[in-house]
Every structure is written in structure tokens, then in C-alpha cells.
Symmetry: C2
Subunit: 459 residues, 2 copies
């Protein structure tokens, strides 16, 4: 059976682009964190939309599902073959095809790394509104499929907000394309918005038309220390409500900064119970406005500010190196939740309480995009922890998040990792609607069937 | 049969809220332009989401489709019962329920007029990003269902860009709600984005959570005259590509302005072959930047500028009174098309050529949101024109638009009026996907079945 499928895939993409040996497929069957590991009968690497359609057709004919894979930088197990799926890698379908600076748009193939899109925009004096730490490897197709958020969400929103059009091969085998339409266009359902965030369950994104934004090269960054986390959150709310041209508004809780200072010194220039990292960007120097806003904040116990690139990078280091610092002390349980802005204080308190209750002795590292209500909760369990503690920690954190009207996935998606908890935030009616849409566009459930949509009985 | 349906509707919404007499339903069965006229067995006016669900259930039970209706300000026959549908009027389901100024959002019931949303936002020092001439009667549910564009699209995008969440009763009878989720939320398909622009074909919108934007009260408006339409379009492109804080960028072709000057004097302060109306809005006075930009434009033969409210309104009159001026000389064939910005020059030339070819002697009045590539084409036919000329004019205009990579509906939607031409801009694969989604969420085709989706055989 598998042999016939592999032969058909070779027919579509050529022998060299179907990988079957375990040593060749290993990079495609495991996510980069090492938490999600599967096996695949074949990795197919199409180089055109027609070849993608050929791979989808072959999988349908043989009744073998597929998992689309971009840069394999996902965090929820949505891009690896956990149940023996074929891997449809978009790595060869890459490149920025065209840039229209007047319309502020570009068209990129799905496998194009985010950094290549950023570079193409910059070459025309423009910028792309989504930026991620994984910009060198994360691909446009993957960021569309997962509606990636990232560092500049507070300014530009997520990937869906940047998406002007899409080309995709649907699970039903057909290719839909609506790439070059004008910005103002009311001619039917917005398939691009529907596929964005669908995590490969409806089809395979092959091209995207992306909106570009003006470049704001005048920048000011401030690292602020606060006497209490509550004071930092209150300051974040004040900054959010201000007219400052915010490009980022990040928070780092004291214990997280202390870990960073210990594992990846030097530490911050002042001690505090919590820190905010604020970046403003504008066409004119934003420093005066940022300084005035900072002066009006309560509870500030220390402040550093930078406008030149080198000093700005030094301050961003306190945010960028958190994940590496945590990785030095263990493999964390990584959670990515969000709540309405006013509930962040209660979320942080509740998360601390439930994690301490479920996993006494665990390291709890809080940080996040507080401008967006998005808290990253990293928990490093003690070596002595029982096997199910990680699951119980997740369960407890997701439940307090849902109780506060929050989202169990702010930006990472559901994937396979969060399936057990989707019912906490989505009703039976919504899940039924999701399944109906899935069946409509992917009637044989060929596309990423174990991702995003829990079977009806698991709720 | 109808008697049993009406009895069931009365059971759901009460006797007083089911209208059946022709004199009572007349206001619901004809659009405001008088072009679309139908009949209905009953107008049902639910006052709660549960009552909406009851009306949908009753229609399903009796196999009678329904047309959701908001302010009945649509322009494409999508909100009136052209095939004997029940009218589900949202007029009693109205009101702004809550405003969250910190999160810059509000929740409004579907029947809330746009102006009431604008007022609720203004009361908190904020604004709503979508504004229309019909703001007093157009409802939030209708603007969501049609993805309304309007006057400030160039700044804030359309309704879909403002939509943070939705509650709706789907055609399958279920109620889906996702209203209070945080801004960053990746937990499944974006039903709100899918229903936005679906023109009532998937379900009935009952509530919307809308994003609000900062108020920009420092405003400057300029009316510019140009030696040629080409010079005006080139200037519009230059202004679009600039960093000006544009709130509107409108163009009025010379013959259109001449009609306005004749029918609703006084005319503009200077004669020109084409005019631009430019509005900038910011936190600081935008006049210096606007003046500098205007000074750098080529082909300007006249300029007027205003910053105070009264003088700004005087300049906006040249845009706002175009439709009334046209109405004084006949019932126009109204077309609403868009193209990528660089194609606007060719679009205007091609439209002039084909309209003159199909309908010699017709009055052709061009104006539009040139900042968005959105051209309104109004054609007043001579009294002697044969009956099919209007259809042939539309056919010719939509074909040249499609040939330029444009949209046959920039903002009005497809409704029933543009059904014959949807295949010009959407492929068979896309139309099949639309139909599959329609069947998934509205399996009995109860919701607006004659709108938006052409039957497969008409292409």
C-alpha cells in the first residue's frame, strides 16, 4: 500500500523529492523542541502549486492523510506526522514573487521564510507587520496557517490582518486562488481569512498576498522596573491606553529576570519585582513622548532608555534571551494564554496559585506581550515530578484562563497539544460548525486530521 | 401552509411582531432605491437571540427561507424578499450593550444603527473605523453581513477589519458566540471573518464585538482641481504613497462636478477636468503636511483648503451631493467596482469607452474612493433606451473591470443584482467552495438562498 503511494508521489514530484529513509525524514518527523515525534511513510517536496495538488490527490487516492509543513517552528505539534501522515513540505515552494510598493503588497510562495519577506519589503522602503523570533526559518505558509502573532501584534495585529489574498489547494483537491484582487472586494466568502489559523486542516496554503506597512525607523526603547507586578501591569494598561506609537509592550516578571541574570548574565541595570520593555516607533523621534509617558507612571523603581540600534538591542536582550535561559534549567511546560487586558493581574495571580498547588517546587517563569493580554507561562518541573504533573499543570492553567474569559491559545494555535482543552473555550455549536466546515472543504479528512478539531467524544 | 408558519412565528415573537398585511410589510419588501421589490408571507421582528433562533427554526420546519434585514440600506437587492421569503427584521434587537474603553471595543446588538455605535464610541473619546452616508439607518448587523466599506476605508479598512467577535444564529439552527475573547486568540476557524461579507447566506448576525480606534480631531480638507483626470489620478497615487494621515481620498470627474453645479448649485470655486477631495486627520494639525504635499503635486489648477468644521463641510458637499444631483436627472444604473490602484486610469478610460459604445447619449458620472481603487460608475440612460441596455451596460463595465484584475463589487456586495457576473471574478473552484461552506452551515438553504451564490448552471 505504502509502496504504491510512494510511487505515485515520485511520479508527481520526482524521485529526489520523495524522502522515505528514516535518516532522511528525521528532520521532518520531530518538532524543533523535541516534544513531538512521529513517523512518516514519505516526505514529499513539491515545487509548484500543481505539484502540491498532485500530492494531495495522491494522498486522497490512497486514503493516507498528510501534514503540511513549513519551517517546522510550531509549538503545538501541528506540523509533524504524529499518526503516520505523509509530510507535505513546502520548503521548495519558496520565494517572493512580486512586490507592489504603490499598493503596499507582495506575493510570496508558501515556503518563503519570514525574513525574506521582511527583506523584500525593506528593499522598497516598507515593512511587514508580523515579526517573530523564528523569522529565519518560519515560513509564510506556516504563519498564515497558524495566524502567527509575534512581537508587533500590539501595532499591526496578527497575520490575518496582513492577509490580502491566498492561493491554496483544498482538501477536496481543488485549487482556489484570489491573490491580486483590489483591497476593497466584496465578492463572496473570505476564504483567506478562513484558512488563516486553520492549521492545515482545510488545505495547503501555496501562495499569499501580504499587506505591507510604512517603515518607522525612529525608535526608542525603555526598560522599566517596578516595585510590584501589579504596578507594572497598571503601567502597561496606562501605556496601552495612551496615544504612544507602541511597537511592542512586553513584561518580564521578577523571578524570570532573576533566572536570566543567573543563567545568561549580565542581569538588568536595576533590581525590580517586575519589568516592562516598551518600544515606540514613528516617523519622528518618539523619545520625548515616551519619556513624558514614563514620567507619569506610578511605581517605577528604575528606568533605562535607548534610541540607537546597539543600545536598543542590549535592552531587547532581556526579552529575547528568556527562552534560552529557561532552556538551560530544563524542558519547560510551555503555555501561551491570553485574557482581556483588565484580567491580566488576576490571571498572573491565579496561575501562580494553581501551579504552586499542582506542582510544588516547580520553577514558574512568567513573561509575555502584556500589550496584547498575552501571557507566556513556562513551568520547569522538578526532576522528581510524576509523569502526569505536566498535564495537570496545563489543565489547571487553561481552566483558570477560561474562567477569566481568556483564550487557551493566544498565538501558538491548538495543534495536537491543546486538543483536550479546546472545549473549555469553544461551545459545542462552534465545534460542530468547525467540523461541518472541515467536512465541506476536506471531505475525506486528508489534511492534518489529528490537529485542531477534537473528535466529538473527547469534550 | 403559510398560516401554520405565521402561527409558529407569532408563538416565537408575539402577535404584534409578526406583520402580514401588505400595508404593514411594504416597507420591508422594497429596497430604498425602489429597484428591488418583492413580497413576503410575514415579517418577523425578534427582540432576542433566542427569538431569532426561534424564527430560524420555524422557517426550517416549514421549509420557507428567510431574508435577514437590518436598516434596508443595501444596494444590491440582498435584503429584500424577492422570492417570497420571510423577512427577519433585526430592528428590535438594537442597542450598544457595553463599551470597554481600555480594550477599545464595544458590543452592539445587530439592529443598532451605525450612528449609535459612533456616538457610544465618541462618549468614551474613541471612534469607530467605519462610516457611511447611511449611518443613521444602516445597522451593525447589516454592515457586518455585507462587510461594509465606506468613507474611511483608506485609513481603517472595512468592517471585517473592525470585527473582534460575533454572535450569530446559523442556518443549521445553532447559535454560535465568540464575543469576549482577547484580541490574540487562535482557537479555531474565524467564524466572524467568514460570516462577515456572507450577506446573510450562512446565518443571522445577532451581536458584534467591534474594535474602536483613537479619535483624530485635528483635521484638514483640501479640494484640488486638475487639468486632466490622468493628473488627478497621478496625484492620488502620490498622496496614497505618502506618509500623510489620510482619512479620505475621493475623486470627482469633471462631468460629474458639472452636473452637481447645474443641479445643486453653487459649483466648485474653480473649473477643472477632475477634482480630488483629500481629508487628513491626526492628533496634531495636519495642515502643514497636507499643504506641503499639495505643493509637490503636478497639474493642480486650483486648490481650496479648510480646517474648521463649517468650511470642511462646505468642501465635502462636493462629494456628498453627487448622488442627490444624479437622482435629479434620472434613475441611474449604479455600479461599484474596484481595481488595483495603478489600473484606475485604464479603468476610467475603458468604462467611458464601453458605456459610450453600448449606450450612446447616456449620462456617465464617475466618482469614487480613488485611495482604495474604488470607482462608482453611474449611468443615466436616455429615455429612448431599449429595455436591455441597462443589463448590457453592466455587463460591459463588469467585463472591463474583470479584465483589469478588478472586483465587480468593491463594497456593495453581490446580492441578487450581480449574481450573473460573479463567475467573472471567482473561479469554479471558489464557487464550489462557497457552496460547500453554505451547505455545511445552512444545510436546508434557509438563509437568503437567492443571494450571493449563483446556481452552478448560470455561469
Amino acid at each position: 500500500l505504502t509502496g504504491a503511494l510512494v510511487a505515485d508521489l515520485r511520479e508527481v514530484v520526482g524521485d529526489a523529492n520523495v524522502l522515505t529513509a528514516v535518516e532522511d525524514t528525521a528532520g521532518y518527523t520531530c518538532d524543533w523542541t523535541g516534544r513531538f515525534q512521529g513517523l512518516t511513510p514519505a516526505v514529499a517536496r513539491p515545487a509548484s502549486t500543481a505539484e502540491v495538488a498532485g500530492v494531495v490527490a495522491a494522498c486522497r487516492r490512497h486514503g493516507v492523510p498528510l501534514v503540511p509543513q513549513g519551517g517546522n517552528t510550531g509549538l503545538v505539534g501541528g506540523g509533524v506526522p504524529l499518526a503516520g501522515e505523509v509530510v507535505l513540505s513546502l520548503s521548495r515552494l519558496a520565494g517572493v514573487e512580486s512586490v507592489d510598493p504603490a499598493a503596499r503588497r507582495l506575493v510570496a510562495l508558501a515556503g518563503t521564510p519570514l525574513a525574506a519577506v521582511e527583506a523584500a519589503a525593506a528593499a522598497h522602503g516598507l515593512a511587514y507587520g508580523v515579526d517573530l523570533g523564528a523569522r529565519g526559518s518560519a515560513t509564510i505558509g506556516g504563519t498564515v496557517a497558524t495566524n502567527a502573532g509575534g512581537l508587533r501584534f500590539v501595532r499591526h495585529g496578527g497575520t490575518r490582518e496582513q492577509l490580502a489574498g491566498i492561493e491554496a489547494v483544498l482538501g477536496n483537491g481543488s485549487t482556489v486562488a484570489h491573490l491580486g484582487a483590489p483591497a476593497k472586494d466584496n465578492t463572496g466568502y473570505d476564504l483567506a481569512a478562513l484558512l488563516c489559523g486553520s492549521e492545515g486542516t482545510l488545505g495547503v496554503v501555496t501562495r499569499a498576498c501580504l499587506r505591507l506597512v510604512p517603515r518607522h525607523d525612529e525608535r526608542a526603547v525603555s526598560l522599566l522596573g517596578f516595585a510590584t507586578p501589579e504596578a507594572a501591569l497598571a503601567a502597561a494598561a496606562a501605556l496601552s491606553a495612551s496615544m504612544l506609537p507602541l511597537d511592542a509592550l512586553e513584561m518580564i516578571w521578577g523571578p524570570t529576570m532573576a533566572l536570566l541574570a543567573r543563567e545568561l548574565p549580565p542581569g538588568p541595570p536595576f533590581d525590580a519585582a517586575a519589568y516592562l520593555l516598551v518600544e515606540c516607533a514613528d516617523l519622528v523621534d518618539p523619545l520625548p513622548a515616551l519619556s513624558a509617558a514614563v514620567d507619569s507612571l506610578a511605581g517605577v523603581v528604575g528606568a533605562a532608555v535607548a534610541t540607537d540600534g546597539r543600545r536598543r538591542a542590549e535592552l531587547w536582550r532581556y526579552r529575547d534571551e528568556i527562552a534560552p535561559a529557561i532552556a538551560r534549567v530544563g524542558v519547560p511546560v510551555k503555555m501561551d494564554v491570553s485574557v482581556p487586558l483588565p484580567a491580566q493581574r488576576e490571571l498572573a495571580a491565579s496561575v501562580s496559585a494553581v501551579v504552586t498547588g499542582v506542582a510544588p517546587g516547580a520553577g514558574l517563569y512568567l513573561f509575555g506581550h502584556v500589550g496584547d493580554g498575552n501571557l507566556h507561562v513556562n513551568v520547569v518541573l522538578p526532576a522528581s515530578a510524576e509523569r502526569d504533573v505536566a498535564h495537570r499543570v496545563e489543565d489547571a492553567v487553561y481552566r483558570v484562563t477560561a474562567d477569566l474569559g481568556g483564550s487557551i491559545s493566544a498565538e501558538h494555535g491548538i495543534g495536537t497539544a491543546k486538543l483536550p482543552w479546546l472545549g473549555l473555550v469553544r461551545s459545542d455549536a462552534e465545534l460542530a460548525a468547525f467540523r461541518a466546515i472541515k467536512s465541506a472543504l476536506d471531505p475525506d479528512s486528508i489534511c492534518n486530521p489529528h490537529c485542531l478539531l477534537p473528535p466529538p467524544f473527547t469534550r
